[in-house]
């Protein structure tokens, strides 16, 4: 053990953060040691405060300081459409577009057997009970366009269609302002598949 135990512990815990390798963790740890005690206290407090105050919306699963989030309580939003996403941050991304005016449902991940995430680990039961009791007429599945996201989308559509609710998937296609010539084959192929009527 080269460092004092407290230092080893700090590096060890920092290295658990996403995107932080052992080298970066070490740099961060050294940086923290150069700060004043009150500076370090502010960082630690901010972390704890966020953790204590922020929970999940009982209805949609989005991050929320109250038991039901502002979107779910907003009576101006349309109650017929439900957009299903993997992570809380996806709601933020979609909200920035200001295009979607319906409700959200956050799954908390995607089906990935290799990572130990099965349907039971996601908020799918909650989704189904929302669909059964609510007045939704369309579910927009906005999971990521990768293997896990596609598998999750397929799984959900099989569960939802029998309820007589329309299931749609976010279209994949050409980037706006892009050039056909510079689009990769996969994106172009998907854009062809998902072409729409004029």
């Amino acid at each position: 053990m080269l460092y004092p135990h407290a230092m080893t512990r700090l590096i060890h815990e920092l290295a658990k953060l996403p995107g932080i390798g052992p080298k970066t963790a070490q740099r961060l740890a050294f940086h923290l040691l150069t700060l004043s005690e009150s500076e370090v206290g502010k960082i630690a407090e901010a972390m704890l405060e966020a953790k204590h105050k922020i929970g999940f919306c009982e209805i949609c699963g989005q991050l929320s300081e109250s038991s039901v989030c502002p979107i779910c309580t907003d009576s101006n939003r349309c109650n017929g459409m439900l957009c299903v996403v993997e992570e809380p941050k996806d709601v933020i991304t979609l909200e920035r577009t200001r295009v979607f005016k319906g409700q959200y449902h956050v799954l908390g991940g995607a089906i990935s057997p290799l990572e130990g995430t099965g349907p039971d680990d996601l908020r799918i039961k909650e989704l189904l009970s929302r669909l059964q009791t609510g007045s939704f007429t369309e579910v927009v599945i906005a999971t990521d366009p990768n293997v896990e996201g596609e598998a999750t989308a397929l799984y959900l559509s099989k569960l939802i269609k029998p309820l007589g609710i329309r299931v749609t998937r976010l279209a994949r296609g050409l980037p706006v302002g892009g050039d056909l010539e510079y689009t990769d084959e996969i994106t172009l192929g998907k854009a062809l598949e998902g072409r729409v009527e004029f």
Binding site: T8, R9, H12, A15, K16, P18, P113, L114, E115, G116
Partner: protein, 369 residues
């Protein structure tokens, strides 16, 4: 370092399991085919990145499932490390504390030594078992060995493919030979050096448990039963070249590489160079097999500076009561241990903080309180 928590999903006959372990002795009992060995196998997977009983990862996936998932929490000096392994058809994913890592990274984490009734086959069985034994423990003693071996193995596969494809004796083989000899010699030399290192530990362990105090000896056999004790690169290279030239025609006929570390053996003798595989009594063979494993515990402790986890699968019933007591008190005083047995009565000890009993029934584990 010890394993404090294990989580299994779709692993063998476990659908979904979370279980906490004692840092001391963990004893699993239950009837046959309930999932006791499967638990030890999961622990070995977390330590080695592979199962101790099969090389086919897909066997670990619960029948009818897409992938198996194992998560283990190791604790060392108050610090936690979470290892996650996902096994799908033809793919394997490793994570340490949430970051994806290579399987080789796990190898240098937690040493492990396993005991099973099959260990007798280490002595009685074919050379493949002894090579596997050597390779498994050498890789734990020296993580670089695994890389060396893997390089060799890839070239061996290429060379075999070449032999399968060509119809006639072909000069092109010489191109393969050069690389093959280089990589093969590295494996042979690593094995010899490491055998010299483990020898005293295994001898000492054997002396302690054998009744007649006969000396046990290990030798590396290469190139058709040459005993090789010194990793002399020049001499060995010449020998390697000559042997390859000698079997060249036969290799083209049989379409297989016939010389190299993939055909070597570990010769185990007692007393006055008596080959224990062919001439040892059952008792001598059993003792030698046990010494091989006990010696590994001691050397891993020294080299890795931490005691290995011990996995003992169904071995208690083989001992008489005195030996059982002796073994249990040895285990109680050493590192974290995982034992299985069909009978609860195999363990004449009380449950305590450090000794926990679990009953295993059809893929469910019940903590006995």
């Amino acid at each position: 370092m010890n394993l404090s928590c294990l989580e299994l999903k779709h692993f063998r006959n476990y659908n979904n399991l979370i279980i906490n372990f004692s840092p001391g002795m963990n004893i699993f009992f239950g009837q046959n085919a309930q999932g006791k060995t499967n638990l030890l196998e999961a622990v070995s997977l977390l330590c080695l990145g592979r199962s101790f009983r099969t090389r086919k990862d897909s066997e670990l996936i619960q029948w009818g499932s897409e992938a198996a998932f194992v998560r283990g929490t190791f604790v060392d000096n108050g610090l936690e490390d979470v290892i996650e392994i996902g096994i799908g058809e033809g793919q394997k994913k490793f994570k340490q504390n949430g970051h994806e890592v290579k399987g080789t990274a796990l190898f240098s984490q937690v040493p492990v030594v396993s005991f099973a009734p099959d260990d007798l086959q280490l002595i009685k069985g074919g050379p493949q078992l002894r090579r596997d034994f050597l390779d498994l423990y050498l890789a734990q003693l020296d993580p670089a060995y695994r890389v060396t071996y893997y390089k060799f193995y890839k070239i061996l596969q290429q060379r075999n493919r070449f032999l399968k494809e060509v119809r006639l004796v072909n000069r092109e083989l010489e191109v393969w030979n050069e690389q093959f000899i280089d990589a093969g010699l590295k494996v042979i030399c690593s094995r010899i050096q490491l055998i010299e290192k483990i020898k005293p530990y295994i001898k000492a362990a054997h002396e302690q448990i054998s009744l007649n105090r006969e000396a046990l000896n290990l030798d590396y056999l290469s190139f058709g039963s040459h005993i090789i004790r010194e990793p002399d690169d020049k001499k060995l290279r010449e020998l390697f070249q000559n042997e390859l030239a000698r079997v060249s025609r036969e290799e083209f006929e049989r379409k297989l590489t016939l010389v190299g570390p993939q055909r070597d053996d570990l010769r185990i003798t007692i007393g006055d160079q008596i080959d224990i595989r062919n001439y040892g009594s059952q008792g001598q063979q059993r003792t030698a097999a046990l010494a091989l494993k006990l010696g590994m515990i001691d050397i891993l402790k020294d080299v890795r500076e931490m005691p290995p986890l011990l996995l003992l699968d169904d071995v208690m019933s083989e001992f008489d009561n005195d030996r059982k007591q002796a073994l249990l008190s040895l285990l109680l005083s050493s590192s974290q241990t995982f034992l299985t047995s069909t009978g609860r009565s195999d363990f004449p000890i009380e449950a305590s903080v450090n000794t926990v009993f679990y009953q295993v029934i059809k893929g469910a584990v019940i903590h006995e309180s």
